[in-house]
Amino acid sequence: MSHPVAVPAPPLPDPPPAPAGPRRRRDDRRVAWLFLLPVLIGFAVFYLYPTIRGAWYSLTDYSLLRAPAFVGGKNYTDLVHDTQFWNSMKVTAYYVVLNIGSQTLLALGLAALMHRLTRSVVLRATLLLPWLVPNVTVGLLWMWLLDANLGFVNHLLTAVGLSNQGFLTSPSWAMPSIALINTWAYAGYTALLLYAGMLQIPQHLYESASLDGAGELRMFRRITLPLLRPVLALVLVVSLIGSFQIFDTVAVTTKGGPIGATRVIYFYIYQQAFTYFHMGYAASAAMVLVVVLGLLTAVQMRLLRASRSDLN
């Protein structure tokens, strides 16, 4: 067996209340806070405090080099009129759609193939390799492969009679190229997550369907897809949130260019804060991102819960 310890799906949303009655009531408060101490320190200093500070920065004019000065909601009103900011949100959304779409479809196909063909660990380990490589390396590698003059991909294109492309230098190609680069890096990993979910599906369902003469495609549609839905939804939520945070690949390959075609929101915030010294403004842009991601997560959680309920 290649999955010796199957974790049962944890009870959601809360642990079942301890049965009242025979069990004695305990109070572990002293020892509990000791158990929690390191995590609470880490949380207070590096999550809670910066969250409050970040919210405060967003109301100030703060250059990083001088003390913050309160300006009220000015950063936010400026943001509303900042076409570069909205362009960043737009290209980020574009990236997320391209990346999540292609990545999920590929991973699903890959997982299904593995599920029905082989349990090979070597194969799965190989597919995991791109995920283990830093995004910076991935970006460099593909920047080289996609180079307009010397890149391997353009050698292939010219070999079959097509003209070479400036994949990362053309405003219309740059973002799709980056989305596909990251799909290459994450499809194998996502496939393994989905594959793990598929292994939870009882084998006998496939056996009886097969006896009924169902083909593979039919089994995929009728058995795999519906039973995988909770896992699929969860994987989608996680990769979607991650996808919004794209930075490394852009920072290495296009640096937001050409003409802002890949200036994703992380890169925009980074530039405002550390290149132009508009820390307060950057914080307000980050604040907007918090709200957008929060809304998105809420919507997805709702969908997720819906998909869970029709399985139980």
Binding site: P38, I41, S63, L65, N149, L150, G166, I259, F274
Partner: protein, 447 residues
């Protein structure tokens, strides 16, 4: 059962020992062991590094207690890196500075005012090329000593440009491109051997482009559009330095950009979105470009010993308002937060002295800011068999030069204007409205 105290101890051990054990102690910025000081020095041009390393060696020989550590970062990333380091409070002690980019560091108090040092050590400011020293002065404070200067010229591939007769006095205007455009067209060749003026010319299959434009050229257009626009009567600013209003909405500028776009449309210049990661000089080296506009700092690149192609220089074309070249000087800035201001000043003073600039002159990579050193550089070029007189002639021509715009927010202005111009040459927007919009944005920054 373990007593709670042990738990705490275990926690403390886990939380504290690891990062502390991993911590290497002090970072390398101090380097002050035994009275010796290391000055961190940044520059962007890898071809100049050997020349300035020569200066550093001479400097350390004269000042055994001070050594200089070089870090080179390519131009495309230089300013972003510098700002990040400034934000982190760990900027280099001394960095190579550029007139268009230093004002933002002045307004955020990141550059040391060296006027007191200059007064104390009686540095002779008249030894430099006229105007260079003043580029780095604001409100009576001085933020650098000139180290070099550069002008622009046409460089062409001698095998690919046959008719060199009229190259010394080309004309240009944004309407029909003058004789400059004719020379470019004649040097453009398609895969069937038809040149650009031939009616049979196939602009979809170009083998050699007549002209290679530079589009990552910030808000200055030093390598092309800026020089040509000024030669048509364009001015960047209401006053320079320290203007408060940019003129990027000037129709003369949009006409210039439109002319560049026309070069692409006609097949005389490569399309912006098919560029490679190679810079123009690398494309010139591969024999795919005939002309380009380049600065005197690239002499070593085009006239070095290892070039595959053979090149020659020609002056920039003369526009309706005359022949105009950007003249720019670099300086060395001292970080306001440096731990070693005296040693940093000693290094900057040495960089701005003839002792260093003569060394740079011998390497013949750039023209040093000191006039006598410039003459030495010219002599060194002549001795190496290179004719680079064009650059010094242009610099000497009365009214033939202009300084690059100097205002606050240089970093942001560059990004906005460059984006705008790129969107025009891509055909995404038309010149006049795009530049108007960019101009409104940059003037908004200066308010």
């Amino acid at each position: 059962m373990l007593p709670p105290r042990t738990v705490v101890a275990a926690l403390a051990a886990a939380a504290l020992t690891l990062p502390l054990a991993a911590c290497s102690g002090s970072s390398d910025d101090a380097g002050a062991a035994g009275g010796k000081v290391t000055i961190n020095y940044w520059l962007w041009d890898d071809t100049q590094q050997p020349a300035y390393q020569g200066c550093a060696d001479a400097f350390t020989k004269a000042n055994p207690d001070i050594s200089v550590k070089f870090t080179q970062t390519a131009w495309a990333q230089y300013w972003q890196n510098l700002t990040t380091q400034l934000a982190a409070g760990s900027a280099p002690d001394v960095w190579t500075d550029h007139a268009s980019y230093y004002p933002q560091f002045v307004s955020s108090n990141q550059i040391l005012d060296i006027q007191p040092f200059v007064d104390r050590d009686r540095v002779d400011l008249t030894q430099y090329q006229a105007g260079l020293a003043d580029l780095f002065v604001k409100d009576g404070k001085r933020y650098g000593l000139p180290k070099d200067w550069d002008t622009m010229a046409l460089v062409y591939n001698k095998q690919l440009v046959q008719d060199t007769g009229g190259l010394a006095d080309l004309t240009w205007n944004p309407a029909d491109g003058g004789t400059f455009e004719k020379a470019i067209a004649a040097a453009t060749v398609d895969t069937h051997g038809h040149h650009g003026l031939d009616p049979a010319f196939d602009k979809a299959h170009v083998k050699v482009y007549g002209f290679l434009p530079e589009w990552a050229d910030g808000a200055q257009g030093q390598n092309g559009w800026g020089d040509l626009a000024v030669s048509d009567g364009f001015t960047f600013l209401d006053k320079n330095p320290w203007g408060t209003h940019y003129n990027y909405d000037d129709p003369k500028l949009s006409a210039t950009i439109a002319w560049f776009k026309h070069l692409i449309d006609a097949g005389y210049a490569p399309a912006f979105d098919k560029q490679s990661t190679l810079s123009r000089d690398a494309v010139m080296e591969s024999g795919k470009g005939a002309f380009t506009i380049t600065g005197s700092w690239t002499i070593g690149t085009y006239f070095g010993d290892n070039t595959k192609q053979k090149y020659a220089l020609a002056p920039l074309p003369t526009g309706p308002a005359g022949r105009k070249t950007a003249i720019n000087g670099l300086s060395d800035a001292i970080y306001a937060g440096t731990k070693h201001p005296d040693q940093a000043w000693a290094w900057v003073k040495f960089l701005g002295s003839s002792a260093c600039q003569d060394i740079v002159a011998q390497h013949a990579v750039v023209f040093p800011a000191i006039r006598r050193s410039t003459d030495k550089a010219l002599a060194a070029h002549k001795a190496a068999g290179r004719d680079v007189q064009v650059f010094t002639d242009e610099a000497a021509a009365p009214g033939g030069t202009f300084f690059l715009p100097i205002t606050d927010h240089g970093n942001e202005v560059s990004q906005i204007v460059q984006d705008s111009i790129q969107s025009v040459v891509l055909g995404q927007s038309s010149p006049a409205p795009a530049l108007k919009k960019a101009n409104d944005q940059v003037n908004g920054l200066l308010k």
